[in-house]
Symmetry: C2
Subunit: 345 residues, 2 copies
Amino acid sequence: MSEPGFAPRPTLEAVAARAGVSRATASRVVNGSEGVRAPLVERVRRAVDELGYVPNQAARTLVTRRNDAIAVVVAEPETRFFTDPFFAQQVRGISRELTAHDNQLVLLLTEGTADYQRVGRYLAGGHVDGALIFSLHAEDELPALARRAGVPTVIGGRPGWSDDRTLYVDCDNRGGARDAVRYLLGLGRRQVAHIAGPLDQTASVDRLDGFRDVLPDADPRLIVEGDFTPEGGARAMTALLERVPDLDAVFVASDVMASGALRVLRTVGRRVPEDVAVVGFDDMVSVAEWTDPPLTTVHQDIEEMGRLMAGLLLRTLEPPAQGGAEPVRAASIVTPTRLVVRASA
Amino acid sequence: MSEPGFAPRPTLEAVAARAGVSRATASRVVNGSEGVRAPLVERVRRAVDELGYVPNQAARTLVTRRNDAIAVVVAEPETRFFTDPFFAQQVRGISRELTAHDNQLVLLLTEGTADYQRVGRYLAGGHVDGALIFSLHAEDELPALARRAGVPTVIGGRPGWSDDRTLYVDCDNRGGARDAVRYLLGLGRRQVAHIAGPLDQTASVDRLDGFRDVLPDADPRLIVEGDFTPEGGARAMTALLERVPDLDAVFVASDVMASGALRVLRTVGRRVPEDVAVVGFDDMVSVAEWTDPPLTTVHQDIEEMGRLMAGLLLRTLEPPAQGGAEPVRAASIVTPTRLVVRASA
DNA sequence: CGCCCGCGTGAGAGCGCTCTCCGCATCCTT
DNA sequence: AAGGATGCGGAGAGCGCTCTCACGCGGGCG
């Protein structure tokens, strides 16, 4: 370390010179391609170590047209990204998968439409090889943006339109909801209510559909739309109690809303689960386990979903398979859910 | 859009040709440098629009040695990153500031020492112009790693060593703690306890120091070390009640721990704030407002801290100031805190 | 024993951009 | 009106890397 910030990083040229080979051969060794004889490989390796050579990614990208980087785009109409650890867990899964494949994660947070243009430009600019998009609302145009930019994309959560070219990863919202409602019925509950999420998001719709699968004839007054916040959950619970005072169970479309609902139930003196059984959805570690009482909820493996998203994207990015093998058509993934029984139901 | 994915992105060359100027002039216009006459500027602009030209970042980086990207490195010994929205908020602040300066955010999550090597290589590889590091523990070697890689760095939170070349951004943990304790004393409380964070983190130490500033002679039994989790807060509260049954106030070093403490107090039948007043630290939106009762806590502007970190880093990256102005020595920043009174004290 | 094939290596041409010259036109000065 | 100062625009040299292509050497075959 002579002068901080002034160490001129060694180039491939330097490595080649030191190893006494051509730049081409040095490149071959660095990139691990076949057909270089062992002694040469060894010499280049040593030169790399001695010089502390690290390839210049910009130069490499310039010629290969590969960035080994993917963008994670988070639309943030509401501030959900920052109030629950949902995305954080998903991002961790993504990060793990990308790291395992030597890819970098470029995080793009958007706020408002002005940012959409920015993101569009960025994606079109070929800075990344693909994009993982989280757009919570059905009508979000981020995915369209990515397609226009010609960037391979995988979406987090089922998108609002039907189109089997669009890849996504989602959990089995509908099935999970069915399990939750069936469980409540199995407990002998007769008046099962549902606090839904915002119905412009497919996750909310799917969970509601699951509820209806099991209770097709439920009194419409038993269903209230919330907004995935504790406040929203509280408001919805209040409304439900007013409309159907004798309800004895609630399936809430998210743990966060459930926490608000529990608070209301406690305030009005209904015991959980004795008077009203409550089941949530998500199994957010820091929420479900720490409500009072701890929440029975539908578990989804969020981190795994992140990993799957990244994996799926990476696979679509791979060259069309040189071997004789038929190029396996990448397909969207729906992960299973699982009911976790704690104390609230 | 002829064939998807096959649209050859236009180059500067193409823009120049269409505008009838040289590549150099086109470059000047694109980069907004002075000394190009209006009509030419206009022609180039139009060519850019018509062709949908977006500069190739790799090519640009190759010559300028600037990436316009900074890394956000999150050490994750514990899983705190994923259980509280702390980092998410900070990241949002960072993102905002970077976006405003046309920089990208590359997220590097680490788990274990193997990842440290990876991060070291990445930083040394010159992929990014600077790094923002969150290392929670005093002895973390991530900052040293970054320095060795010759990458300008700003640290989130006061680092464990004294060294004024190391830039950091932190909130006034000590002052905030003092305010909290003074407030409790002002309420007439006589037995004020403290649930500290893990004492290998400076934030915890500073908050404890603040507590001691006001209560230098506090009974040592009134101080218990927690771990920034709800469970840890609960355990600490239980221990405190056992050791000092007549305590009438607790200053908890984090809202998340305070939520655990509140739960214990409720369980054992102590009323909050009547019997025991509780003050937290952080003012995490989704925690402090939704505990029962809502938490009186020390507010810190987390997002602002993120923004400041990014701003500080960007400033150190700027060329040494061409104007006659003395290059202002960038300095660490300590942001103020503010007590937010809700219902728990 | 000579020819050809093939493997291993080197030479060199760019990838798309920035930026330093350098030439030329324009305008001001005396 | 001539010389110089000034400013605008173009030519061209790389930045560090990958990859194609051509070349040389050795071995198997005829």
